[in-house]
């Protein structure tokens, strides 16, 4: 009876180790603080109506940023530092502490940390940031007012959040995460070798957020293909929209594979089937094959929008149209096509034979062709331009330095005999971090600082942004050059301890120092955002076009109104807004606007989806069935809801536009005309301390 009611749950599942107690206390305190603040300031209704149930892609984009940024700092980044600390202390001649034989983490705990680090950084940080950018920017760039299916978008976001909650759930219940590496290779991920619930948490957090990604991707493909402003043909679309389109098409192609594969692993674990087991005819190699058929395109799903971001930035800050747009876009398309046919290079060492290995090796190095073309078009864009060294441009220059390392080592790894040596070594780890940090993360940072004025209405503090950038670059070179070297020395990845005689320790220590410098960089990025909020009057963007932009998102005021465009623009050329500015901006004609209504269905469905996952982790069958029915009922109920839109009349639009303009004029008039330079670090620290002292003295958060 007890087993029927609560499955395998027991008191032992509650937190009792230092990291689960610490983690659950941290998340508990955070939730408590949020509840208190929301209650005291009476903001529950506001939060629910304005944000949580919103279908506005701009608000959903910002929520993606917040969740991804939080996961980057609180989980992924912290885990990176924890691993580096363990490895710096992990030499076999040093005593262990906290009960570990080497360093301060046991082997299982260390393995759980690198597994979680990989899952979180890919699924919940990189994907979150990329979806945030796509949500906010793509509709603006194509001159659309909303999305093809706003409901699918909010559902996608809330499934993503359900995945985030699931990946943190083991702190509260269960006490362990998977220790299998981020792709959970079989047969290690089977019940035989991973009997605990950690692996089930991995399956369900990836499964739920993966389904969200598929839905979100379908929606953005429809949006980009069907909702572009009149006159914007495919070959007039901005590069970022192109990158997003390629990325989303790839996502729809490969994410169902992930879903299917994870279901098969789940069957193996739950129903004792034998798809990937060692015994009874299971084939573990098939798992490796299937998961990489998804896994390799996945990194390109992340990086293609980032390529688009860099193209926009180089073009804007060089004050030139992108050199040979056609080659640039064909480059993006070429990368996505090749990326679908190279997955086998992740397991040359499984022994497929020379013919198979050579074929996939050749396909892999051919990816370098469109990628090099992209880089060449960026260089040619800068040629005879007028380049402004803003922070987005700095991130671009940093990206090139790091990404070239990643690209060169990537082609080396594509040569099968070379891969036999480099595979599973730290050289490989350094290679893909160069690409994912240099390409995706720097792309996201560049994109956020580029589009921040559009999102917030004021630009980011440039000075602190520069400091953060240099910390990242210095930290990165100190962390990852030693990692390449360790790989060449024969260090495999995922080692929590190593022989003292190997001489590796100084390099692990350098990696830790680099990691700390990167952490300082992240702290400076947070300081940058806070300093920009403090200084928002001075940094205010009154024109909506702070960078002299070229694409349509700069045609609307900053921050963009809920309906994006009061008048849908007529597009005639590429760089549509640049052309409009040259030709003279046409007079605005106001019209009735149909907008989607807020909905909470996405939240309800995601809660049920979460419960299905949680119930299956703990073998509570009745709850899984009930929740599944609940989710299906919610979906059906939503499809019968015909009342999903409301109309903003032309008169209302005109009034809103006027109020907005009046507000902008007022802000512009009282624009802070203090010293021209953005505030530096010392000034920022001084301001924060003064503010804190003031709060203590007056017991008020804001100056009245």
């Amino acid at each position: 009876m007890k087993e029927f009611l609560i499955g395998r749950l027991s008191m032992e599942a509650l937190p009792h180790e230092w990291f689960t107690i610490g983690g659950s206390a941290f998340f508990g305190a955070l939730i408590l603080a949020l509840v208190v603040i929301l209650t005291v300031t009476k903001r529950w209704g506001w939060l629910w109506k304005e944000w949580l149930t919103s279908v506005d892609p701009k608000k959903i984009g910002i929520m993606y940023f917040i969740v991804a940024g939080f996961m980057l700092i609180a989980r992924g980044g912290l885990e990176a530092l924890m691993m580096w600390l363990q490895q710096a202390l992990g030499s076999s001649d040093m005593p262990g502490f906290l009960g570990a034989s080497h360093g301060y983490l046991s082997a299982e705990h260390f393995q759980q940390i690198f597994t979680a680090h990989g899952n979180i950084m890919v699924f919940f940080v990189a994907m979150g940031f990329i979806f945030g950018l796509i949500n906010y920017i793509v509709p603006l760039q194509i001159g659309a007012r909303d999305l093809a299916s706003p409901f699918l978008n909010t559902l996608g976001f809330w499934l993503f959040v359900a995945g985030v909650v699931m990946v943190n759930m083991f702190f509260f219940v269960g006490g362990e995460y998977a220790a299998t590496g981020w792709l959970a290779v079989a047969p290690l991920s089977g019940t035989e070798f991973s009997p605990g619930t950690g692996m089930d948490y991995l399956i369900w957090s990836l499964q739920i957020s993966g389904i969200g990604t598929t839905l979100g991707a379908i929606n953005f493909i429809m949006t980009i293909l069907k909702m572009r402003a009149p006159g914007m043909t495919l070959w007039k679309m901005p590069a970022f929209t192109w990158g997003s389109l390629c990325s989303m098409i790839m996502a729809v192609t490969v994410f169902p594979l992930l879903t299917a594969t994870l279901f098969l692993v789940f069957f193996d674990r739950y129903f004792d089937t034998h798809f990937f087991t060692t015994a009874l005819g299971g084939n573990a190699m098939m798992y490796t094959n299937l998961i990489w058929m998804w896994g390799h395109p996945e990194v390109y799903i992340l990086v293609l929008p980032a390529y688009g971001v860099f193209t926009e930035i180089v073009s804007t800050f060089s004050r030139k149209a992108i050199a040979n747009y056609t080659s640039n876009i064909i480059g993006l398309i070429g990368v996505s096509l090749f990326a679908l046919s190279v997955w086998l290079h992740h397991f040359f060492t499984m022994g497929a034979g020379a013919d198979v290995n050579s074929f996939f090796g050749v396909m892999t190095i051919f990816i370098a062709i469109p990628t090099t073309v992209l880089v060449f078009t960026w260089i040619a864009t800068m040629y005879k331009g007028r380049i402004r060294m803003t922070t987005p441009m700095l991130w671009f220059l940093g990206f090139i330095a790091v990404f070239t390392f990643g690209g060169v080592t990537g082609v080396m790894l594509a040569v099968p005999p070379v891969d036999f040596q480099f595979h599973n070594s730290l050289f490989l780890v350094a290679h893909f971090h160069s690409n994912v940090i240099g390409g995706v993360l720097f792309g996201v940072f560049a994109g956020i600082s580029y589009w921040f004025p559009k999102i917030a209405g004021y630009r980011l503090n440039e000075r602190l942004g520069r400091y953060a950038f240099w910390c990242w670059m210095i930290g990165f070179s100190l962390s990852f050059i030693p990692m390449y070297i360790l790989g060449l020395m024969g260090a495999t990845r995922r080692l929590d301890t190593y022989d003292a005689s190997s001489g590796w320790q100084p390099f692990y220590v350098l990696m830790l120092i680099g990691g700390i410098i990167i952490a300082v960089g992240v702290a400076l990025q947070l300081a940058q955002i806070i300093a920009s909020v403090i200084q928002k009057r001075r940094l205010h963007d009154s024109t909506g076009d702070p960078w002299e932009g070229r694409t349509l998102e700069w045609a609307v005021p900053s921050p963009a109104p809920s309906y994006n465009f009061a008048t849908i623009p007529q597009v005639t050329t590429r760089d549509a807004y640049w052309e409009m500015k040259k030709q003279g901006i046409p007079a605005r004609k106001f019209e009735d606007i149909r907008m989607p209504k807020n909905t909470a269905s996405g939240i309800y469905i995601s809660i049920f989806a979460f419960l299905v996952g949680f119930a299956l982790v703990w073998h509570i069958n009745w709850l899984a069935i009930v929740s599944l029915i609940g989710a299906i009922v919610c979906v059906i109920a939503r499809t019968f809801n015909d009342d999903t839109e409301y109309v903003v009349t032309a008169a209302e639009v005109e009034k809103m536009e006027e109020t907005r303009m009046a507000k902008v004029r007022a802000l512009h008039a009282e624009k802070d005309t203090g010293p021209d330079e953005d505030m530096g670090l010392l000034e920022f620290i001084k301001l924060v301390i003064t503010w804190a002292l003031n709060v203590i003295r007056t017991r008020r958060w804001r100056n009245q």
Binding site: L280, A284, F420
Partner: protein, 301 residues
């Protein structure tokens, strides 16, 4: 900000970058002094060939990467906003020749790499035996939780976490695993790795060419004891090898089914162990365990 401070800031930044690169070079030059970078210090025929390929691909790739980086940073500097003397041509149109170069340059580089890669992949295919005047030595390797069992079928001996082979002799490592997730057999000094998986044999052919001890490990994560799954790989002269085989045969350890069952039990950081063999077909039995049989236990027939 004024143009003046802008300019001096940029000059300072360039100076700092150059200084930082210099510091890094110095730092790593000092740290690397006297260390063994195994992949650049091959001690086997395969590792040597792979090392040559590493050098070749690096050279080809740097030939395209260095000029690319140079032009990118040079243009970023030359066409900076404060340099009003540089030409500004916002409507610059690029001709057919530019577009041709855009695609031709990377295509040429990859067409240079691709045939080299195809040939090398076939030449260095690990399953292919290596020609030599010396007779190939077969060593059967079973990955167990978490140790390596080496069986010398012709010499009738077996070892744990220690493998010794005669120098300049081709060695065929027959890799499999028993009750163990996928593992990867890797001796960086001798050559690249290959996976050891249950129910099948992967053949890894290597030829150690330098006398001495190296370290081998599992490169693929396979559970709790992963980091400690290391072994000593010794290349000795033919005489020393034969003497060692005779010596092992005189040691008390015997690998029979009982001893094998105890090796099957998970254990970590195992020291080396040496056995003479009574079960000649142990390796085949381990393989057969996973081949279509629904009987998970061995040794019951």
């Amino acid at each position: 900000m004024t143009k003046q401070t802008d300019k001096s800031r940029q000059n300072r930044a360039i100076l700092y970058v150059v200084l930082w690169v210099f510091v890094l070079v110095l730092l790593f030059a000092v740290l690397l002094n006297g260390t063994d970078i195994r992949m650049l210090n091959p001690k086997g025929f395969v590792a040597q060939e792979e090392f040559k390929l590493i050098v070749f691909t690096t050279a080809v790739l740097l030939a395209i990467a260095v000029p690319t980086l140079f032009f990118l940073y040079f243009f970023a500097w030359k066409y900076r906003e404060s340099n009003t003397k540089a030409k500004f041509d916002p409507d610059k149109k690029h001709g057919k020749f530019f577009i041709f170069c855009l695609w031709a340059i990377p295509v040429v580089f990859m067409l240079v790499l691709a045939p080299v890669m195809w040939v090398a992949t076939h030449k260095l295919e690990p399953q292919k035996s290596i020609d030599s005047e010396n007779k190939t030595l077969t060593v059967q390797v079973i990955a167990l939780r978490w140790k390596w069992l080496f069986i010398y079928p012709e010499q009738h001996i077996a070892t744990v976490n220690y493998v010794q082979v005669p120098v300049d002799t081709p060695v065929e490592f027959d890799l499999t695993a028993d009750d163990m997730p996928m593992s990867s057999f890797w001796v960086p000094h001798w050559g690249g790795q290959l996976y050891a998986m249950t129910g099948m044999t992967n053949k890894l052919n290597l030829v150690p060419t330098t006398l001495g001890d190296s370290t081998g490990s599992s490169a693929e994560i396979n559970g709790k004891g992963f980091a400690g799954m290391k072994f000593t790989a010794r290349a000795s002269s033919k005489q020393d090898f034969d003497a060692w085989v005779r010596h092992v045969k005189q040691l008390p350890g015997v690998l029979d089914m009982v001893e094998y069952e105890s090796l099957l039990k998970p254990s970590e950081n195992n020291p080396s162990a040496f056995y003479s063999m009574t079960e000649a077909d142990l390796y085949d039995k381990v393989l057969m365990k996973y081949m279509g049989s629904h009987d998970h236990h061995m040794g019951q027939e």
